[in-house]
Amino acid sequence: MKLDEFFVTGEPLVYGGMVSIVLVTSAVIFLLTYFKRWGWLWREWLTTVDHKKIGIMYILSALAMLFRGGMDALMMRIQLAFPNMNFLNAQHYDEIFTTHGTIMIIFMAMPFLIGLMNIIVPLQIGARDFAFPYVNALSFWSFFFGAMLFNISFVIGGSPDAGWTSYTPLSGAAMSPGPGQNFYLMGLQLSGIGTLATGINLMVTILKMRAPGMKLFKMPIFTWSTLVTCFIIIFAFPILTVALALLTIDRIFGAQFFTVTGEGMPMMWANLFWMWGHPEVYIVILPAFGIFSEVIATFARKRLFGYHAMVWSMILIAGLSFLVWVHHFFTMGAGAFVNSVFSVSTMLIAVPTGVKIFNWLATLYKSKIEFTTPMMWSLAFIPSFVLGGVTGVMLGMAAADYQFHNSYFLIAHFHYVLIAGTVFACFAGLEYWYPKMFGHKLNERIGKLAFWFFVIGFHVTFFPQYFVGLDGMPRRVFYIIPEWMPLNVISTVGAFGMGVGFAIFVFNIYYSYRNSKREKTGDSWDGRTLEWATPTPVPFYNFATVPHADKYDAFLDMKEKGETTFEEEKLEPIHMPSNTGQPIIMMAIAAFASFALIFEWITLAVIGLVGVLIMMGIRSFDYDEGYHVEVDEIKRIERDARGL
């Protein structure tokens, strides 16, 4: 293979990307060497098994991916506002909407939420770490290398260009030769395995490691949403694993699953993809519901209205999410009966979701609302999400869907649920729990400025798209007719508003790091749940003594009784897992094997696979049982943190 086949050539924008990758990488290497931080990076971060640090790494990666996906979005908006400028050609536009969709769903929304779960769930249930800290590190690195693998595609080998759904036969070997589509398959496969492991890990953590007294129906609502999400992950992700594997076998080893030769069945891919894909959208929305519930209860200073109804509606949504997948391809022509069945089941989902909306409103009713930034994101969520949900029901009507299908109406719908739901929740959750992670709040004034730019920009971008969709503009076109111009220009203006909002948000992180008041108490917002009971910054073992939590809103109860998580007479040595470099090494080897498979270098791929198996063998013989933190050391750490 020649070098100019290996690297992507001929696009000024891609050359720009290459230069910036080289510059940023050399800058990072230079800074780490100059400040002699390599050892620190390895000991404190790359080998850590601490759920809080892993969570922070998840969120940092997710923010980087939000930036990448956002840049893709802005490039598409520029092209659509100035279609005659030849900013992007058809091929490049295809690649960009593919990477935008894939990155935002798989490498932004999920890791962001999993990052928040990582940090918060063990704290909310009074656990000292995950059930399997080693596996947690493994999950993170598999996500990280999967994301890197996918992202590198635009400079090496060429990006995938068959849409984030990667429908066959377009994405098959016959119509998309070359490594592009393989990047999609292997990048998702690698990170998907990590997600499945996280699902199992979190489920065992929640089921077995709760503080004494905390029954399932006394758990904080965010933990409940995590548990239900894990359930969906465990049952949905294997479907994706298989679908990706089948397409990989098709493309690399010449099988006939989704081909048009050999009596293959291209639409079977759509069937399998959406059997995972629909539960997937609930994987990214249920934790968001959990975050909003926490934030709304905290800043309405009221107990969450209808806790049981909230939990049961999530369980119902999880169950129904596996029964609606066909509504993504009504136009396949499965027949009136099939479409009717899935049309009805789709509309059923609106019922439990509606229950949740009314519960949030009832929580807010007659309360004293504190307008902090996280609360504002939550308040903006409710009406925006309802708009997205109602248009979703419209799309769920099979007959009408023949008109809406593949138009900008659909684009507007799912951006309304995913941005107003998931992205708002990520921002709300990050700002809400920020003091717990870093020991200081984000600046409220700058945060509100970012909020207004982002929310107004969001509506300006996507509201016109409903109408341009009804005017007949299809998705995934790089060139438009004059009739659609005005609304597209408005959309582009809005998109830049969102970009400014994101930039201000990132600036706020820097500004607050320099200027914000440092937290002393650990209870920054007068919180209700156990995560606020620890001192800030959270000691690596989380709880010096695990509280007895038999009330809902356990920390409120503790504050009334004057209890803390540092009862000196109850201290015992704490068992903690040791750091290990194995997860990052194992996943680096797995990434190497995947990379070889992408270019169909079978020998190298087999060598890499053997390497992964050897790493698993090494793990099997590893009897490291961690270490104990002695009582004296706990006392010293806690007195320091609490200023006693």
Binding site: L207, F231, I234, F235, I239, E263, M265, M267, M268, N271, L272, M275, F322, L323, W325, V326, M332, G333, A334, G335, F337, V338
Partner: protein, 121 residues
């Protein structure tokens, strides 16, 4: 706990004998009997489910006290099998409509379903 300290693993032997008998029964039903094909398929699938149950309950100790009465394993396995049914039956249901291929065997029932579709209009 008493059952584990027994010298003779009676449970396992019963399970083993049962699984052999059920396998032979299924093989006979499929290869030796003259039952209608639909009955055979329904019958041998039922036998397979019973055998899976034998493995889960008699060999895998799913419900023993130490695993918390098997509450979580039960729940997850149950939902796993419910999902298996949804995935297999749902795929067949969705993909059988409007898809036909010009092959004589195996494809005929799909064409029938299509005809039913059309006569319904």
């Amino acid at each position: 706990m008493a059952e584990h300290s027994k010298r003779f693993p009676i449970n396992h032997i019963i399970g083993f004998v049962l699984s052999i008998v059920l396998t032979l029964l299924a093989a006979w039903a499929a290869l030796g009997s003259d039952l209608p094909v639909k009955w055979i398929i329904a019958g041998i699938m039922t036998l397979a489910v019973i055998q899976a149950g034998i493995q889960l309950f008699m060999f895998m100790h799913m419900t023993e006290r130490e695993s918390g009465g098997g509450h979580v394993p039960w729940n997850m396995m149950f939902h796993g099998f419910v999902l298996a049914a949804i995935i297999v039956a749902g795929s067949l249901f969705t993909m059988s409509f409007g898809f036909t291929h010009d092959h004589d065997d195996g494809g005929s029932h799909q064409q029938e379903e299509q005809q039913e579709e059309h006569s319904g209009h």
